[in-house]
């Protein structure tokens, strides 16, 4: 095990924590449907907040749920875990669910986890609404 350096930038790692806020916006879509849109970075440090929002939606007996991912810039395995929790519980409760608009790194992590093509993912919130809408006719 050989130490190779010097590597000033790496060596000078300062023990400062960096937390990027995650905001969650909720929109009532009418017809007993709700949209939950987390924005920013969804990870280990805040995934439980999204989970709480999702549980609230289940408790309110909504029949359809859209998780809008378009404003997320980052996701980690804990964040993916909440998406899976949401999906599995929606299935169990017969709640229609769509995940909308993941881009960039978020889409790529979903793909790497072999969930692109497993989770019902639409291009946008509008498209998810289109899918929900056609169910009511």
């Amino acid at each position: 095990m050989k130490f190779v350096g010097p590597n000033t930038k790496f060596m000078s790692f300062s023990y400062v924590s960096s937390e990027v806020a995650m905001e969650i916006e909720t929109e009532n879509l009418g017809d007993n449907a709700v949209c939950i849109a987390p924005a920013g970075e969804l990870d280990l440090y805040n995934a439980d907040r999204l989970k709480a929002k999702v549980l609230e939606a289940f408790d309110a007996s909504h029949s359809a749920l859209v998780i809008d991912l378009s404003q997320l810039s980052y996701i980690d395995s804990s964040g993916v875990g909440v998406l899976l929790f949401t999906f599995a519980n929606a299935k169990r409760r017969h709640v229609t669910i769509y995940f909308s608009g993941p881009t960039g790194a978020v889409r790529r992590v979903i793909e790497l986890t072999s969930l692109l093509g497993y989770l019902p993912i639409t291009d946008s919130r509008a498209e998810a609404l289109e899918f929900l809408g056609s169910e009511k006719k």
């Binding site: 095990m1 050989k2 130490f3 190779v4 350096g5 590597n7 930038k9 790496f10 060596m11 790692f13 300062s14 023990y15 400062v16 924590s17 960096s18 937390e19 990870d43 280990l44 440090y45 995934a47 439980d48 980052y74 996701i75 980690d76 395995s77 804990s78 964040g79 993916v80 875990g81 909440v82 899976l84 999906f87 599995a88 299935k91 017969h94 229609t96 669910i97 769509y98 960039g104 790194a105 790529r108 992590v109 790497l112 986890t113 072999s114 692109l116 093509g117 497993y118 989770l119 019902p120 993912i121 639409t122 289109e130 899918f131 056609s134 169910e135 006719k137």
Partner: protein, 292 residues
């Protein structure tokens, strides 16, 4: 209603079985969304096993038809008989939902030749190796430092590591994300967030590859064999579009797992680190490589 799928020569055949009502028609739509986001482009919907469909169900079939058209996907509805065919005819949608061809003819017309090479590659499932003498564990020429950190400092550390990568490295944000996942595992599962325990990191980047070794002071990841078997099960379900069974494979949990564990970090890791994910025999150090 039951939804069955099978893939024949690259064509996904969807067979709804039983009665289609409001909820089950939603499931059919959802299934199509899932399949197309996976990259499937060719669909045949076999209506021959449907015993009942009401006008809202027909509306859903039409919606699937028009959405597929909008997206440039190929879809054909075949085999409608009896009451189902009557509802389609009554709603004057027979030109969209009552294809005259049989299932076999439709598949044959849509089918695309599948290359032999990709077919054999599809049987391969990635796995975690255990081999401390593997070349990926050779630390010669790698940057190295030990850190005493807790969870809140991981993103900053992984950002600093990635800063050492060549400027034009592809997918640098994913590289950072995947590095931080390995460090999170080491801090959380290895060291149990004990800041007096070290996380040792080695790394080396070039324009051809990114290599990293993360070692913690924990008891080691003892469930590698179980994880490999679990991952194989998951990927087999995924490839067969067996979505119901895949529900059992969403996250890998052990007795050690806690509530906030995603249980999926290593699924992405074995795909991203395409040059290998190799633990040592003590299973407390993982060496990975991404071929760029």
């Amino acid at each position: 209603m039951d939804l069955r799928t099978q893939t024949i020569d690259g064509v996904v055949v969807i067979t709804p079985v039983g009665e289609m009502d409001m909820y089950s028609s939603g499931e059919l739509k959802e299934l199509v969304v899932r399949l197309w986001s996976k990259g499937e482009r060719l669909f045949v919907v076999d209506l021959g096993s449907l015993s009942y469909v009401d006008s809202s169900g027909v509306g859903v079939l039409l919606f699937i038809y028009t959405t597929c058209m909008k997206r440039g996907l190929n879809v054909r509805f075949v085999n409608a008989t009896g009451a189902v065919a009557r509802v389609i005819t009554l709603t004057r949608l027979e030109s969209y939902l009552l294809a005259p061809e049989t299932l076999e003819q439709s598949v044959a017309e849509m089918a695309q030749p599948v290359a032999q090479a990709s077919a054999s590659q599809e049987n391969h499932v990635r796995r975690i190796l255990i081999d401390g003498s593997h070349p990926l564990h050779d630390t010669t020429g790698m940057f190295h430092k030990a850190f005493y950190i807790d969870l809140s400092q991981i993103r900053r550390l992984s950002s600093l590591i990635v800063n050492k990568a060549p400027a034009r490295i592809p997918e640098v944000n994913i590289l950072e994300q995947q590095i931080s996942e390995l460090i999170k595992n080491a801090v959380r599962h290895g060291n149990k967030s004990d800041k007096t325990k070290s996380v040792k990191i080695w790394f080396k980047f070039s324009t051809e590859e990114a290599r990293l070794i993360v070692e913690d002071e924990g008891p080691g990841f003892q469930d590698i064999e179980a994880w490999n078997a679990f991952y194989r099960g998951k990927i087999e379900c995924y490839r067969k579009n067996d979505f119901d069974k895949m529900l059992e494979y969403l996250s890998f949990k052990t007795d050690e797992s806690v509530e906030s564990d995603g249980g999926n970090a290593l699924f992405a890791a074995v795909e991203f680190w395409n040059g290998g994910v190799v633990f040592n025999e003590r299973r407390n150090a993982v060496a990975v490589k991404r071929i760029l």
